[in-house]
């Protein structure tokens, strides 16, 4: 049995934490945005943009969203230290007609505390696991882009792209890879799938693969996108004069992949605005339209990687590439682009 003094100390500690949580302000920040003059919508309908945190990545989404929404908008940043219940109680004061929930925590607060209020969610990685798509009044943008869409972007840089090799861990992305294979086949892409048990298995699987291919595709499989796995793949494809293309993050293009298509955050804001307009006008939406992949993507092309394999990126593709890294002219210094 613990001494009485020690037990008291624990009680005091728990009580203090509870007090801090209870007293913590629900929001880090609240900002009201008044409708622009000449708005043509029902101004009595109010939108609350709920940000899970003050991560600046949310701001890029909000900026485009506000550029399109004509309803009165309140932007709320949740406080990490406040309880969900306290946040929900404060949100009720704003009497929202619709929420734009950015990030998982914001989406879950709305899901659990505002069952009757329409919601548009974005930047929620595991939306299916959180059962966000079950209510008809919920619309959202997934984090995973449509693979065919990404492959069309890759073809801007690699017009002859046809045979693509993908490594995947069946326990993480088996069904996704299977459906993607069928999906991209309709667009002239032959996807060869190679299961791997872990990052250390990639070299064996690569060497045992006997087919030919134009590029290795990275998708959001945690086994394959870890830095060790990428380094292995990069070394192997370099030896064979092949390239890597990525649908995950532009950091792979910066690290030597030929091209990457990543999320276009301002584009997500516009997409969320369209979904908001549809929900607020009570327009019926089929499920596949309510929950949709991101439209558009941020295409980064690494000219050094292209030069390494003797690939010429078509000049007519240049206006459609969002970011170009390095030089494709022999003899020129390779200089990586940096933010001004």
């Amino acid at each position: 049995m613990k001494p009485v003094a020690l037990r008291h100390r624990w009680i005091i500690l728990v009580a203090t934490v509870a007090l801090v949580v209870a007293c913590a302000p629900a929001f880090k920040n609240v900002e009201n945005v008044t409708p622009p003059p000449g708005a043509s919508v029902d101004l009595s309908k109010r939108v609350v943009v709920l940000k899970s945190s003050d991560n600046p990545i949310f701001d890029a989404v909000v900026e485009t969203y506000l550029g399109q929404i004509e309803h009165p908008v309140t932007i709320v940043t949740m406080n990490d230290e406040a309880s969900d219940r306290a946040i929900a109680a404060k949100l009720e004061e704003h009497e929202p007609d619709l929420f734009l929930a950015l990030g998982t925590r914001a989406a879950l607060v709305v899901r659990d505390h505002f069952r009757q209020v329409p919601m548009v969610f974005a930047m929620v990685p595991a939306w299916k696991a959180h059962r966000l798509g079950e209510r008809a009044q919920v619309a959202g943008i997934t984090m995973e882009s449509l693979a065919s869409f990404d492959f069309m972007q890759f073809k801007l840089a690699v017009p002859d792209l046809r045979r693509v090799l993908v490594f995947y861990n069946p326990s993480f992305s088996g069904p996704f890879v299977k459906s993607t294979r069928q999906e991209v086949a309709g667009h002239g892409i032959e996807l060869s799938t190679v299961p791997v048990a872990g990052a250390t298995d990639i070299e064996r699987a690569y060497r045992e693969y006997k087919g030919d291919f134009d590029a290795v595709w990275l998708h959001s499989d945690p086994t394959v996108i870890q830095s060790r796995a990428f380094a292995t793949l990069k070394r192997l494809v370099d030896e064979d004069g092949k390239v890597i293309i990525s649908s995950v993050s532009d950091k792979f293009a910066h690290s030597g992949a030929l091209a990457s298509v990543s999320l276009d955050f301002p584009g997500l804001g516009s997409q969320a605005a369209v979904l908001t307009q549809r929900l607020l006008s009570d327009e019926p939406m089929p499920t596949q339209e309510r929950i949709q992949p991101p439209i558009g993507g941020f295409l980064t092309v690494n000219m050094e990687a292209a030069k390494r394999v003797g690939l010429t990126v078509p000049r007519d593709a240049f206006p459609y590439i969002n970011r170009i890294i390095g030089e494709d002219t022999p003899g020129k210094a390779s200089e990586k682009a940096v933010e001004p």
Binding site: F149, S270, G296, T329
Partner: protein, 279 residues
């Protein structure tokens, strides 16, 4: 006698020093033209790349000029008004504004001799060609605040007798995204430049064939090179040299890359009538 020789030597040394040490100062004072560039829609990385190629190209020409992108139009006006910039490449929409009057268009970029971006409405379902009510159009927004841009676009659609009750717009970064969104059934229509069609035909010929071009919705004069009145931009000799350098741009590897990225293939002389009927 000795004293006068000493004085002469001192004067000689002083003159030599003055000439020697002032020479680089004079050289540094040789005027350098700043060509300011403002494109509200280009992303930073792309501008960095264009800037590098542009300046590499300018270094190969006899003119002393630097390409200098700015992040907002206010900075451009400040540089113009303070005399820190002599030339500007800026969206033609600014020419008709009050502060745009200080800009004298000199050259206009062209692609296949066309100095305009021509935007066409594209639909997949021909029935939508006349009625886009409660439909979503994918579009890139250029040079304007989005809501204002959307209002203008709706007016243009209505002038073409297209119904636009509660029509929505989806902003995308590049025209090809708008066409791909249409191809994948994510939007009902797209407004894109005609040049984008050629690219889509290469990427997805089946989709390209399934689209219906309804008509030209917008005609925008490409961003001209302007001399800034009142400063060195008013110097006819300097401007003529710059014009010559721009006209030869396509002949250089760096210049060609600048032009490809800007989707142009030549610079042509500006004529006032180019502004007629254009945005």
């Amino acid at each position: 006698m000795m004293q006068s020789r000493y004085n002469l030597r001192l004067i000689g040394i002083a003159l030599f020093a003055a000439v020697t040490f002032n020479a680089p100062v004079f050289e540094a004072q040789e005027p350098q033209e700043n060509i300011v560039f403002f494109d509200p829609d280009a992303n930073h990385q792309k501008i960095i790349q264009i800037t590098r190629w542009f300046n590499d190209y300018l270094e190969t020409t006899p003119i002393k000029a630097r390409f200098r992108p700015v992040q907002n139009v206010e900075t451009l006006w400040k540089l113009a008004e303070s005399g820190a910039a002599s030339y500007a490449i800026v969206s033609s929409q600014y020419l008709s504004t009050r502060r745009g009057r200080q800009l004298e268009p000199v050259l206009v970029p062209a692609q296949k001799d066309d100095v305009y971006y021509r935007k066409v409405l594209v639909v997949k379902n021909e029935q939508m060609a006349a009625d886009l009510s409660r439909r979503t159009i994918a579009i890139t927004v250029s040079g304007q605040e989005p809501r204002e841009f959307f209002r203008d676009t709706l007016e243009k659609l209505e002038k073409k007798a297209i119904k636009t009750q509660d029509t929505r717009f989806l902003q995308v970064k590049k025209d090809i995204d708008a066409l791909l969104a249409l191809a994948f059934g994510r939007v009902d229509a797209a407004i894109v430049t005609t040049a984008t069609f050629g690219v889509l035909s290469r990427l997805n010929p089946v989709a390209a064939k399934s689209f219906h071009r309804v008509g030209e919705i917008d005609k925008i004069l490409r961003a001209p090179l302007c001399a800034i009145k009142g400063g060195r931009g008013g110097d006819a000799v300097a401007t003529a040299a710059l014009v010559e350098a721009f006209k030869k741009m396509a002949g250089s590897p760096d210049g060609e890359k600048v032009m490809s990225t800007m989707a142009i293939d030549s610079w042509v002389s500006f004529k006032p009538e180019m502004m007629e009927g254009a945005r």
